[in-house]
Symmetry: C2
Subunit: 306 residues, 2 copies
Amino acid sequence: MNPSAIRRVSVLGTGVIGTSIALALRRAGVHVGLYDLDTRVVAEAELMGAGIALHPDDPPADVVVIATPPSTVVGVLRDAQDCGLGAVYTDVASTKARIFAEAEVAGCDFTTYIPGHPMAGRELSGPGAAHANLFTGRPWALCPHPVTPPGAVHMVAELVEMCGGEAKVIAPDAHDRVVAAVSHAPHLVSAALAARFAAADETMLSLVGKGLQDVTRIATGAPELWCDILQQNAGPVAAVLDAVVRDLTEAAYALRNSGRAGGGALADLLTRGNHGREHIVDRVHAKGRAHRPEGDELAELARARV
Amino acid sequence: MNPSAIRRVSVLGTGVIGTSIALALRRAGVHVGLYDLDTRVVAEAELMGAGIALHPDDPPADVVVIATPPSTVVGVLRDAQDCGLGAVYTDVASTKARIFAEAEVAGCDFTTYIPGHPMAGRELSGPGAAHANLFTGRPWALCPHPVTPPGAVHMVAELVEMCGGEAKVIAPDAHDRVVAAVSHAPHLVSAALAARFAAADETMLSLVGKGLQDVTRIATGAPELWCDILQQNAGPVAAVLDAVVRDLTEAAYALRNSGRAGGGALADLLTRGNHGREHIVDRVHAKGRAHRPEGDELAELARARV
């Protein structure tokens, strides 16, 4: 399969992620059709050069990308498959297990649907915040169903590569547990730190430095969208929050009792933090050596998953 | 007072902060004498061009910078003042109230000692991680005692400016409360997030992205040094951790009970996070408009503090 297998893509939902995908595909020479319930954001995406509004007479796309909020994905997917909008379908929602299960219940066709999730986002929303480089070098999870033919998985992996992303095949449950730890729980923890400054006075802000800027960078994003995301992944996110709360409660106790055994608990948390950070940094540095999954590997992984 | 009032500075403690100050001052043409209990790190700082090793026959410095761990500052200060090492003294410890109180008890001379704290740090430690630009555009707290003459405060403010920092006069107690919120508690929270990856496997690391990198960036630094810092500011740090724990406990409860009133608590936390982040970003953007405190302002603030 060569890159030219993807000539026409339809993007349903032209928010920041959908429009960024559209821009990246346009740059790769793909014809992109755009659709959104809000025709104004389609017009905005068109003006940015992300493609042209989808027309009822357009031929089926090679890939249909569903870039709508998590709770709407299954409904949009079923409608799109019913209309025969494309050969292969994927989505970009940041939770996968619930969508996977709901799509099974709704009778969606998993031979043409490969759930996906690009691990990239912007603090801003809407097509105006979109960028063709948003996915460059970023992981992009694919959670194919056991019944999905390798060729269909390959088609979506090709789209990921066209967008500059790195396809990672992973089971939906594992995806959700991992994303709870790398993205969803950190979002809430970052918000809990930033919330300390919701009513900050001049003195409180006088010593703001780079550290606080970094740890609160992800404390943005529309609360409604984030509530939707978090509630779709409630169990795994709550489990990570429990672990963070346990560590911080012990740290606060240790600080108030530092004359006794407090130092040990503090040092233990800081040391585990050091180790975790090393793993995260090592991973990022290793990315230069990462390779795109080969066809056999993808097919094998897709079959191996239960 | 003009910049040339500072011609000779002694830096006691040539770790990352002390050596960075030395490098910035050398760039400004100041003669810098270096001292550390560990003569190897002095030699390393010398090789980097940070100055030359302090000699017993050297004349007194215009400013002596004490860049040793927080719990050692008062002892080093008293010895330095007893020896008449300089005209004016400051330190760089990230806690101030306890050092302030201990220095009063130890009979240190506050007419020549202006407690200080540059709001900058690196993930790495030791002179090898030092950089002359470390303080550029960063706030640098000064906590002068009511008895300190404005001229002495001005001398240290001049040193801050030579290093590229922005002097902020603040009372020691307020400093510690603010730093607990902007730096110390975020350090522990960042560590608690990073700690989730201390034993991470390949799957857990496969989807690591920029968000996690940012929120865990400050989860580094030597645990021993950080235990010292955190225990010096135990009360204010524990209070911030309590507030974060309260928010995250409510969020976990809301996630597990999203059918009921859960959504409200989640949205409330995310909204407060949005507002806090806006204040932090606004503050950073406003920095271009910040001004260096004028002489009268500094003197007035120093007198106004109780």
